[in-house]
């Protein structure tokens, strides 16, 4: 499901025109992005947490060439699902 499909589904669910949904979604996403950029943690009840985590610097060794590279530290967005979502996912059966 891509961005457009998401908007379409949501519009159908809310009985609202696609344009308003798109606008709202854009604002929501930009708000979340700004908050994350400031280093905040965002928690959506029943869905999960968005968190900024610091990945420490590390030494990586290229297995073939043995070139050692120092990877600098970085900040990354991390998503952790809530327990409610986890329980729901447990009902899902693996079929492959």
């Amino acid at each position: 499901m891509n961005h457009k499909e998401l908007i379409a589904t949501m519009a159908a669910k809310m009985n609202a025109p696609k344009a308003t949904v798109e606008n709202l979604l854009e604002i929501t996403i930009s708000t979340c992005t700004e908050l994350l950029a400031e280093g905040n943690t965002i928690g959506f009840q029943s869905f999960g947490n968005f968190e900024v985590r610091k990945k420490e610097e590390r030494l990586s060794v290229h297995p073939a060439t043995q070139v050692r590279t120092l990877i600098p530290p970085k900040l990354a967005v991390n998503f952790k699902q809530s327990n409610i979502l986890k329980e729901k996912l447990k009902e899902l059966t693996h079929n492959e």
Binding site: M1, N2, H3, L6, T9, M10, K13, M14, V21, L24, L25, E26, I27, T28, I29, S30, T31, C32, T33, L35, L36, A37, E38, G39, N40, T41, I42, G43, F44, Q45, S46, F47, G48, N49, F50, V52, L59, T65, Q66, V67, R68, T69, L70, I71, P72, P73, K74, L75, A76, V77, F79, Q81, L85, K86, K88, L89, K90, L92, H94, E96
Partner: protein, 418 residues
């Protein structure tokens, strides 16, 4: 982290004010959004949101584990997990504080890494030092061989002695006059030095006579006769020793020059001898007049006025060496007014690299450091983002082909990097 956790309620409030819709509508929207995403995920789809990221389901295979308490083997069931991979725009935005950092290759077979290069840089001056040390050893042994002959000392002494005397007199300006008198006596002793021990004996007698005169002075009453004699002798001996030491030192420093210009040097020395002789005579007159006059503090003052003449005489000798315009350039304090440009320190930038780029030799980084001393506390650890200016330098100062320029840069390097 400005806050522990921002709840969905806060997001709703923010969205409501931004989009100028009611909170209820915003809440409804957010709930719908989360529900839609959830439903899509539960149906096995992945959800992509523009400018944000992708939600995906990940299947974790069942695996064996051990109960830590009982030691029983247990099987953890396979499960689905929602993963979120942020888009590059979000990644970059969040990683803003560390965005300037880049991965650094530490070592490889093909290319030298940074730390190794630094080691090489550190080794270079060390090698030069060991070479210099051996040279100095050779020269010292030469001097020892020469010192058995008294002649070089004699020629050098007049200059040295005056150099010696300057600090003495400035120090003892307001102290007892005896000291000054003796130092002046000393000068007299060294100037016509062609003789050695016999002359010293004569000298001592002269000093004794002087001491007699001093004792007559009302201001010197505290000093007793025999003691002052003894002191004077000791002092003379001490100064002779000191002068000898300095003579060897100066001889060592000028020995190479001397070898080259030995023939031209002799007349110069003669001149100096004459000049210093004259000065010593005037000194004597001054001091004697000082003894006669009731104000005892005056003689040393007059002496200090006379002495600069001697130093200028020495200077003229030194300046006849052709290299000394450079030496003057080295010694004069460097003023940085013009700038070639400015550089911002990034991860991995080094002053040596800038020096290599702007001046053609990494050794001249010291001048960049000097020009930016107010901004750089430690040249080895410059905080990233520091803006440094690359000074415009005299071309003679950064001549890579001139060993003296290199030498000077290394000297400065040693001063700044301890």
């Amino acid at each position: 982290m400005s806050k522990d956790k921002i709840s969905s309620q806060e997001i709703i409030d923010l969205v409501a004010t931004k989009a100028s819709v009611s909170k209820r509508a915003a809440e409804e929207f957010l709930k719908a959004m989360i529900a839609t995403i959830e439903e899509a995920l539960l149906s096995g789809e992945l959800v992509k949101i523009k400018n944000f990221g992708t939600f995906k389901l990940q299947w974790n295979e069942p695996r064996k584990s051990v109960n830590v308490n009982t030691g029983e083997e247990i099987i953890i069931d396979g499960y689905y997990k929602v993963t979120f991979s942020p888009e590059t725009s979000l990644k970059d935005l969040v990683n803003e504080p560390f965005a300037h950092l880049e991965a650094v290759q530490l070592d490889g077979e093909n290319n030298l890494n940074v730390s190794e290069q630094q080691e090489l840089e550190a080794l270079d001056p060390l090698r030069i030092f060991t070479e210099q040390a051996t040279e100095i050893k050779d020269i010292l042994s030469e001097i020892q061989a020469l010192s058995s002959n008294v002649t070089p000392h004699e020629t050098e002494n007049p200059i040295l002695n005056e150099v010696e005397v300057i600090p003495d007199e400035t120090k003892t300006k307001e102290k007892e006059v005896i000291l000054d008198e003796i130092t002046i006596e000393e000068k007299e002793h060294f100037l016509p030095i062609e003789t050695t021990q016999e002359f010293i004996k004569k000298e001592e007698i002269a000093i004794q006579s002087v001491v007699h005169e001093v004792d007559v002075e009302p201001l010197q009453q505290e000093v007793k006769k025999p003691k002052s004699k003894h002191k004077a002798r000791l002092f003379v001996l001490l100064i002779i020793l000191l002068a000898g030491g300095v003579a060897t030192g100066l001889y060592f420093s000028s020995s190479t020059v001397k070898e080259l210009t030995d023939s031209t040097f002799i007349p110069l020395k003669m001149k100096i001898l004459k000049v210093s002789e004259k000065i010593s005579v005037t000194d004597m007159v001054n001091t004697i007049s000082g003894w006669i006059s009731p104000e005892t503090q005056k003689p040393p003052l007059t002496v200090t006025i006379v002495i600069p003449k001697d130093t200028t005489a020495i200077d003229t000798v030194v300046n006849q060496q052709p290299i000394d315009s450079l030496q003057l350039l080295f010694d004069s304090p460097r003023v940085y007014s013009g700038y070639l440009g400015s550089e911002r320190i990034n991860h991995g930038s080094r002053l040596t690299l800038f020096a290599k780029r702007y001046y053609g030799n990494k050794l001249f980084w010291v001048y960049i450091y000097e020009a930016n001393k107010d901004r750089i506390k430690n040249p080895n650890q410059i905080p990233e983002g520091t803006l440094i200016k690359i000074p415009k330098l005299d071309k003679r100062l950064i001549d890579s082909n001139n060993s003296r320029c290199i030498q000077k840069a290394i000297e400065l390097h040693d001063i700044y990097v301890k």
